[in-house]
Structure formats: structure tokens, C-alpha cells
């Protein structure tokens, strides 16, 4: 189904939070202020690696307007944070390990005074040798960044006998791929408001993707009971995984408790770049072999991930990368080894796609190289190696049966964009337009690639000899949830509110993905109610129950499952109450708009029920994300699949790659919220375009060269393709009761390898490093002067048009 307004019909709804967002009424947590509020700011290390010899704060504390200055000595609890391994100092004691490390923090009556106070804090450093790459970190003489050494995590997965299988391969491709330090670049930088209460409690208003996790971590740092901390975590001005870990919360909380006044912190973009998480830069070496028929036999992978100075989720990201390096393919002999290595670079952590984006770029690059070496169509090559419905998962674990891979493969095969690769297009009108453009410009055509099945339309559709076009495609298999061995709790609550609304509460957050609209649609489906009957509470530890994290493409899936668990209990209890009030037997009653109905009539309003008391009408559920029964660390049980096909235009004089069009086929179960689904894929597409073509937070000697949005370039409205289509495949196997899967990540994965394949077809250059450098594609104009005659051929328009 092509996903758009027409196909969505009545399910295409406007966002419930849209009105507040277009009028400016919506308060982001960084928009909040409070009477008597002071401003917090954080002193971070100027050095990527240094010993702290002394910290003197007296002068800063004496500055008029300063109300609190804190260092590590002021942390009452555990001076560390980190979701997985708490190894990052809240405030460094004796050593800094990256330029974002916090050494002190200040609260003052004005931002200016706080900034001035930072300058008055004297820190004596002794610089230490800098480890600016994972290779340097692994060198035997490298200084140890942490007590356990420089390897945060190592993974190893092996099946079969890879070395033996390579000896039987007809074709082997070996390549090393490199991916950039991509920045989330959520438009709302990190910040929040911290309000101490008279009762010793603390209210935290700060964006995060898991309010209860923040509460637990803050309680550990502050040495306070968790129940004395309220974390309000929604709404959020973008996160993409980047705000799941603590960022400024510890400093706001410590300062507020220290001075007893509300504290506001809102980082500048430079502070965000300096201290914030990034996507793990990875070097991925793959050696992959096939037999003479093109069947994959052996696949060896070595992943080296730069996890930066501290752990956060570096280990699970590597675990995910290890699993996804095998992908949706049948490969009998596999050997994957990965290392997540500490360096003095910026901290790498959770980011939409979670390590999948990097390894899928590499894996799909291997598939394209093998197909070309075999002289096979790249998509057909994937077909003969594709997993079947009941195949085990990439790590050999049992997974929920799924035919998603086959479905998305079919959809891409039929796509008109893919047909342009080999010239088997049926889109005659588009061709005519392109030919007309060429004719009117008076330029000839170029036969670009010898290996693309001839001078098809994709090759013959540009006007200058240095402008080339190509088409490429990629497959994605993406795990949902956190995987085996990681606690992945879910839950929610439903009840009739005192005002007579169906009130649902989840610990999840709305960060733009459209959770509110998805919930509204699900609740309307389950309770046949009006939108006005619904009240939704999100992201508030005082008002919503534990629901686990809003990450890992899990939220839609988990709230759907929670509501399905809760629905029978709530409906029965409300109908029983209505039966007592109306005297109509329960068996004749059902929920409907505004209340309880019998036949064509509403017999009791929700408000009337609520007026009699809502006790006994609240229900809560707690459960766990579905996991594989096989004890394979990190192995997933539910997957989504995506196929992506793109056409690019490359200007060989400038190296500019322009993405002309993209089609995504996504298999993720039923579409709950078509607008949100489409938005996630289109948004993920834009982010992947940046990953492929422009984004890299460059570091030199472990210092950021890229410091702000003037040099960290993210796609603008002119960089994204004018044509993007999304096909949603809703089919699930019989007896699959897991419902919709999340699509928050899967749209951000496959475009980079698809672009790389298209660039190969357009230019003959293999891409093994992202973002694709213009320098790699640029050719001197003399190339075209000298090669003009042999490269330009007269278009075969007449024959094409028949």
C-alpha cells in the first residue's frame, strides 16, 4: 500500500498537539521558567585528556549574583552516570577524558553572572597523552583510560567454519568501510528546569527518553529516594536517541538542591556539540564469499567502534551492530567480532538505528560488490540469498516467523525507480520528459556504466557529460526492542478520570514521533469512543507508570500491547457500572462515543459514571517486550524490514551528489497512524541522507573541529529529494499477535548504502566511506575534454520511443 493521505482515509488525522505547536502555546521543557529561578552553567574541560591537580572556586563563589558553585566534592551520592555502566563522572575528581567532561557547575542570578563565574574558576591541569583513535587505544603502549583498560566491550559470534568455507568460494569480496561521527542535532539543545520543593523533594523538567531511568540515575547521584524525585520528560524538541542518557540533569539537580532555588539550564549549540552524544564512528572490515551460483557461503566481519571517553550504551550498540552485520541473508558460515573501544574523543552512544546504520552500509556494500563480481543483478543476488519465513535470526536465535524480507524485496523489484537501473522502465512519460530536456539543451548522452545492463534510461538521462545518474537499492532487517539479556519492561494504565474521560497514562514521551496521535487512534479503535473522550498522560513519573524506554522502535508496539491487555478489564468494569446504573444487563452494553451504549442509544455517559465514583475503574499492566527463548545476548525476537531504492545524479566536476528520488518499502505490521508512520520514514530518510552525504562531527587530536551548525551541515529543504514514496506492507504471518512494530528507526538505515550503490552505477566509483566525499568523485574538466568523443554517444531516442 502506498502510504499517503488517500490510502489512509479516515485514519489520516491531524496531530492532537498540532494546534499548540503552530501557535507557540506549547511549552517545551526548556521554555519553562519559575519565580525566583537562577541560571545554571557547566564548566567543561579544555583538554581531551588531563590530570586535574587543583580546582579553586573561591573567586567564582564571591562574584555578586552567584548562588552556588559545585565540584565533585558536592556530589552526595555516586559521582557517576551511565545507563549501562555508570562510568562517566558527574563532576571529574582527578582526571578529564574528553573535552565535554564536566569539572564544575555554577548557578547565578543571571546567565551573564554564571558565565563570568565559570571564567573565575581556576583549574590546574596537567595534560596527558591523547588517544584519538580506537587503533591508538588498542596499541600495547597506550595509556589506560579506565581501570579495566581501553576495551569497553567485545563481541564474538561464530557459526560454521568460515576459513574452510572461504576455500570453497568462487568469488570473495573484501572491503573496509568507515562511517562518520554523526550528530543527532535535535533542534532543542539539552536543558531543563529543576525545582526543589519545601518538603525536600525535587521536580525535574528535562527531556529524556526514559523518565524512570533518569529518576533512578539521579537518585543514585543525589543519594535521595527515587520517590522524592519527580521527572517530567515530555514534550521534547527532538531526541533521536541522543537524550536517552543523562545530560545536564545531574548539574541542574545538584545546583537546585545546593542553593534551594529553581535552576534553569539550557545549553548552547556549541555546548551541545561538545558534551552531547554522537553516533559511533565505526570501521568495519568484511570478507564475504559466494559459490559459483551466487549463494553466500562465508562472511567474516570485524567491527571497531570508537565509543569515546565513557560507556553509556556503547556495549549494546556494538551488540546490535554485531547482530545486524549478518542481516536478512542465509549465510552458513559466519564469524563476527567487534570491539567498542574507549578513546579521548566525544562520547558515542545511542542514536536512531543503534549501530545498524553503520553495519548495514557495509553489509549492503558487500552484496553489491559480490553481485557485480558475479555479473548478477544486485537485487536478484539478494533474492537468492534472502532469509525465509521460518529461518532463525541473524545470531541463530529463534525469532517470530516473518516474511517481511520477501515482501519488501518484491516491492522494490516492482518499483519504477529500480527498473530505471537496468532500463526496463515502464514509465514512458517520465522518459519522454527527460529526453525532451536533453534534446532542448542540445547535449548528447553518455553511456555511463558497462555493467548496468546497457544504456538504459538511467544512464541516458542527463544533459552534460560530467553529470551522471545511477540507481541503487538496499535491504534492511532491523530488530525491535532491546534484545535478549537486557531488561525491557513495558506497561501502562487506563482508568476513568474524575472528569469522565478515558484516561491512559504511559511513562513514554512525545518527541515529535506522533505518539499522541497513535494513542488516540488505538484508543478509538479499542473503545469506539470520540477523540474528546480521551485524556493522555505521558512522561511524568508522578502521574504515569513504568513503561520502559521510548527507544528501540518499541513504543508503538508496547502501547498497543498494553492497551490490548487493559481493554477487556476496563470495558467490562465500565459496563458493569453502567449496568448497575441503568438496569440493563451487561451483555447488552458496549462502549461507544461519550459513554456506554445499548443498541442505538447511549444509556450512560462517562461523566455520569465518574460522578458516582471511579474507584475500581483503574487498571494497570506491566509486562516485558517479547524476547527470543534462546539465550543469545542481544538477539532480537521481532524485526522490521525495509527496502530502499534511490536515483542519484552526480556532477563529476563538483563531486555533488543529488538524490533525485527515493522509494521505501517497509514491513512493520499494521499501520496504526499513517501520518506518523510516513513522518518517521520521511524524517529518517532525511537523516540518512545527511549520514550518506554531508554529516560528520570532525575531530582532530580529540578536539572538535566542527563546533556548530555553520560547519556541521545537515540536510536543508533543498537537499532532500522532491520525490519520496513510502510503501507500507502490513501483512503478518497467521497467529502473529504482536501487532504493529515501531518504525522510528528503520527508515534511517538503508538510504546510505542505496546511495552508495547508485553512485557506483553513476560514476564507477565504489564508496566505502561516509559521508561520501566530493573529492573522491571529482574529476578534472580535462577528463571530459580528452574523453569527449568516446564518452558521448547520440541518444537512441527514436528507438526508445518506438
Amino acid at each position: 500500500m502506498k502510504l499517503d493521505r488517500e490510502s489512509a482515509g479516515a485514519r489520516w488525522i491531524v496531530r492532537p498537539d498540532g494546534c499548540d505547536k503552530v501557535t507557540g502555546k506549547l511549552n517545551f521543557l526548556t521554555d519553562l521558567s519559575f519565580p525566583g529561578m537562577v541560571y545554571g552553567t557547566i564548566l567543561r574541560s579544555p583538554y581531551p585528556h588531563a590530570r586535574i591537580k587543583a580546582i579553586r572556586t573561591d573567586a567564582a563563589a564571591r562574584l555578586p549574583g552567584v548562588v552556588a558553585v559545585i565540584t565533585h566534592r558536592d556530589v552526595p551520592g555516586v559521582n557517576r552516570f551511565g545507563i549501562m555502566y555508570p562510568d562517566q563522572p558527574v563532576l571529574c575528581e582527578d582526571r578529564v577524558r574528553f573535552v565535554g567532561d564536566a569539572v564544575a557547575a555554577v548557578a547565578a542570578e543571571s546567565e551573564e553572572a554564571a558565565g563570568e563565574a565559570l571564567r573565575l574558576i581556576e583549574v590546574e591541569y596537567e595534560e596527558l597523552p591523547v588517544i584519538d583513535s580506537p587503533e591508538a587505544a588498542l596499541a600495547p603502549e597506550a595509556p589506560r583510560l579506565h581501570p579495566g583498560g581501553n576495551v569497553l566491550h567485545r563481541t564474538h559470534y561464530e557459526r560454521g567454519n568460515v576459513e574452510g568455507a572461504f576455500r570453497r568460494c568462487a568469488v570473495i569480496v573484501e572491503e573496509t568501510y568507515e562511517t562518520p561521527r554523526q550528530m543527532h542535532a535535535y533542534m532543542e539543545t539539552e536543558g531543563g528546569l529543576f525545582v526543589p520543593g519545601p518538603d525536600g523533594k525535587l521536580a525535574v523538567y528535562a527531556p529524556t527518553q526514559h523518565g524512570y531511568m533518569d529518576r533512578m540515575q539521579l537518585a543514585r547521584i543525589l543519594a535521595m529516594p527515587e520517590t522524592d524525585i519527580r521527572v517530567v520528560s515530555s514534550p521534547i524538541g527532538g531526541s533521536f536517541g541522543g537524550k536517552d542518557e543523562l545530560n545536564i540533569q545531574p548539574y541542574g539537580a545538584l545546583l537546585a538542591l545546593c542553593c534551594g532555588r529553581p535552576v534553569k539550564i539550557h545549553q548552547s549549540r556549541w555546548e551541545s556539540v561538545r558534551a552531547g552524544l554522537k553516533r559511533h564512528p565505526m570501521k568495519i572490515a568484511m570478507k564475504t564469499g559466494v559459490d559459483a551460483d551466487g549463494r553466500l557461503l562465508a562472511h567474516r566481519v570485524r567491527i571497531l567502534a570508537d565509543t569515546g571517553a565513557y560507556a553509556t550504551l556503547g556495549a549494546p550498540v556494538l551488540q546490535f551492530a554485531t547482530e545486524h552485520a549478518v542481516g536478512p541473508y542465509r549465510i552458513p558460515h559466519v564469524d563476527v567480532e567487534g570491539w567498542a573501544v574507549y578513546t579521548n574523543n566525544g562520547v558515542s552512544g545511542e542514536f536512531r538505528g543503534f549501530g545498524g546504520n553503520q553495519v548495514v552500509f557495509a553489509l549492503e556494500g558487500q552484496m553489491d560488490r559480490l553481485a557485480e563480481a558475479l555479473g548478477m543483478d544486485a537485487w536478484e543476488f539478494r533474492r537468492i540469498n534472502l532469509r525465509g519465513m521460518d529461518d532463525p535470526g541473524p545470531l541463530g536465535q529463534r525469532v517470530a516467523p516473518t516474511d517481511g524480507a520477501r515482501h519488501v524485496w518484491e516491492t522494490i523489484r516492482r518499483s519504477s525507480l529500480w527498473e530505471r537501473r537496468s532500463g526496463r522502465t515502464t514509465d514512458r512519460r517520465a522518459e519522454t520528459r527527460l529526453h525532451q530536456r536533453d534534446v532542448s539543451s542540445g547535449s548528447g548522452h553518455v553511456d555511463v556504466r558497462p555493467d548496468n545492463g546497457g544504456s538504459g534510461p538511467a544512464a541516458a538521462s542527463f544533459s552534460s557529460p560530467w553529470v551522471r545518474r545511477g540507481v541503487g537499492a538496499a535491504m534492511v532487517m532491523h530488530g525491535c526492542g532491546l534484545g535478549f539479556g537486557i531488561p525491557d519492561p513495558a506497561g501502562g494504565r487506563i482508568g476513568l478520570s474524575a472528569q469522565g474521560n478515558i484516561q491512559v497514562a504511559f511513562g513514554h514521551e512525545e518527541f515529535g514521533q506522533g505518539l499522541l496521535a497513535s494513542l488516540q487512534l488505538m484508543i478509538q479503535d479499542l473503545f469506539a469512543c470520540d477523540p474528546g473522550d480521551i485524556e493522555i498522560i505521558l512522561g511524568d513519573t508522578d502521574r504515569a507508570p513504568h513503561s520502559g524506554s521510548s527507544t528501540a522502535s518499541r513504543t508503538t508496539s508496547m502501547v498497543w500491547q498494553a492497551l490490548h491487555r487493559l481493554q477487556p478489564h476496563f470495558s467490562r468494569a465500565v459496563c458493569e457500572r453502567a449496568s448497575t446504573m441503568s438496569g440493563i444487563p451487561v451483555s447488552h452494553l458496549r462502549l461507544g462515543p461519550g459513554g456506554v451504549w445499548a443498541g442505538p442509544e447511549r444509556v450512560v455517559r462517562y461523566r455520569e459514571i465518574a460522578e458516582k465514583g471511579t474507584e475500581g475503574l483503574q487498571f494497570e499492566t506491566q509486562f516485558h517486550f517479547p524476547v527470543t527463548p534462546d539465550a543469545i545476548m542481544g538477539g532480537h525476537y521481532l524485526y522490521t524490514f525495509a527496502g530502499v531504492v534511490t536515483e542519484v545524479e552526480v556532477n563529476l566536476l563538483t563531486g555533488q551528489v543529488t538524490v533525485l528520488g527515493v522509494e521505501h518499502a517497509v514491513a512493520a505490521g499494521p499501520v496504526v497512524n499513517p501520518m506518523g508512520y510516513l513522518g518517521q520514514i520521511e524524517g529518517g530518510n532525511g537523516m540518512a541522507l545527511g549520514f550518506a552525504l554531508m554529516e560528520d562531527a570532525v575531530m582532530d587530536g580529540s578536539r572538535y573541529v566542527t563546533t556548530n551548525l555553520d560547519t556541521y551541515l545537515i540536510p536543508t529543504i533543498r537537499d532532500v529529494p522532491e520525490r519520496i514514496e513510502v510503501y507500507a506492507i502490513e501483512d503478518l504471518p497467521p497467529n502473529d499477535n504482536y501487532g504493529p512494530r515501531g518504525v522510528g528507526e528503520v527508515g534511517s538505515v538503508g538510504l546510505a548504502p542505496a546511495i552508495a550503490a547508485a553512485v557506483r552505477q553513476a560514476t564507477g566509483t565504489w564508496i566505502n566511506r561516509l559521508p561520501i566525499s566530493r573529492e573522491q568523485l571529482m574529476r578534472p574538466i580535462s577528463t571530459f575534454l580528452h574523453e569527449n568523443a568516446p564518452m558521448v554517444s547520440v541518444p537512441d531516442v527514436g528507438k526508445e520511443e518506438g
Partner: protein
């Protein structure tokens, strides 16, 4: 820190506002911190993101590149002043109806930029919309729906 404060008077969303400000205060901080109009956002330090775009005497400006004192005596319209008499401006309708937003943080600036574009060109082509909104960064939507939102507004405004 001694500074000489200056009194400025601006008409903001039709209401005259007077305040004593430091000469170096940016218009965006005047709007957000002095007047409490927090619909206008700051997303970068380098005037790239466009989240702070407002109308100054009816023309779009990035309010992080204007000092409050430069706006003295002028009229400023922020996102809070776009709707009139409870009726959404067509650009607001467009962004809501066509899903031109997700997290919504860039939305006020994107809408003000679009208002400026439509002032200059009431009937823009897709390409002209893309050119006109190039100075606004949205990290969520992938922009497709922003183009649709602006087209919707253009049609509405042409009647």
C-alpha cells in the same frame, strides 16, 4: 560588570512593550526572556537554524541577528501573534493540516519564514518554496510536508 541600560519600546504582536535592556541583548532573548514569548526558539549559535525567525515590520528576520535596541520603535510579530481573533493564520493551518511538523521546535521559525516567502511571492512553485525555506533547519520531518504546508497556505491566502 557595569552596563548602561537602554529603554526600548517595541510593538510586539500589536501591543506596545517598553523595557530597559542591555544594549547587547539580542531580540530573540528580549522576546523570550523579557517578554516571556517562548514560542520563538533558539537552535544554534550561528544563525543557521532559523528557529528564531520573526517578522520585523512585516519582514522575516532571524531574531538572533538583531539587537533589541535595533528593533526599538519597530513592530515585531512572533508566532504568538500570527493568529488573529482566534482564527489561525493560513500558514498555521497548513503546518497543522499537512503535518509540516513533528517535534515542533523549529515550527514557529519555519512558519514565519514561510509568511515572509508568501509576502514576496504569493504563488510559489515547489522549487521557490524550497529556495525560500532553505534557511530553516528541521531535523524531524524530512521537509516533504513542509512544502505541502506552504502550498496549502498559499492557496488559502490567494482565496
Amino acid at each position: 560588570m557595569t552596563t548602561t541600560k537602554t529603554v526600548v519600546t517595541l510593538k510586539v504582536n500589536g501591543v506596545e512593550r517598553t523595557a530597559e535592556v542591555e544594549p547587547r541583548l539580542l531580540l530573540v532573548h528580549f522576546l523570550r526572556d523579557v517578554l516571556g514569548l517562548t514560542g520563538t526558539h533558539v537552535g544554534c549559535d550561528t544563525s543557521q537554524c532559523g528557529a528564531c525567525t520573526v517578522l520585523l515590520d512585516g519582514r522575516g528576520v532571524k531574531s538572533c541577528t538583531v539587537l533589541a535596541v535595533q528593533a526599538d520603535g519597530h513592530e515585531v510579530t512572533t508566532v504568538e501573534g500570527l493568529a488573529r481573533d482566534g482564527e489561525l493564520h493560513p500558514i498555521q493551518e497548513g503546518f497543522w493540516e499537512k503535518h509540516g511538523l513533528q517535534c515542533g521546535f523549529c515550527t514557529p521559525g519555519a512558519m514565519m519564514t514561510a509568511v515572509e516567502l508568501l509576502r514576496q511571492n504569493p504563488n510559489p512553485t515547489d522549487e521557490e518554496i524550497r529556495e525560500g525555506l532553505e534557511g530553516v533547519i528541521c531535523r524531524c520531518t524530512g521537509y516533504e510536508n513542509i512544502v505541502r504546508a506552504v502550498k496549502y497556505a498559499a492557496e488559502r491566502m490567494r482565496g
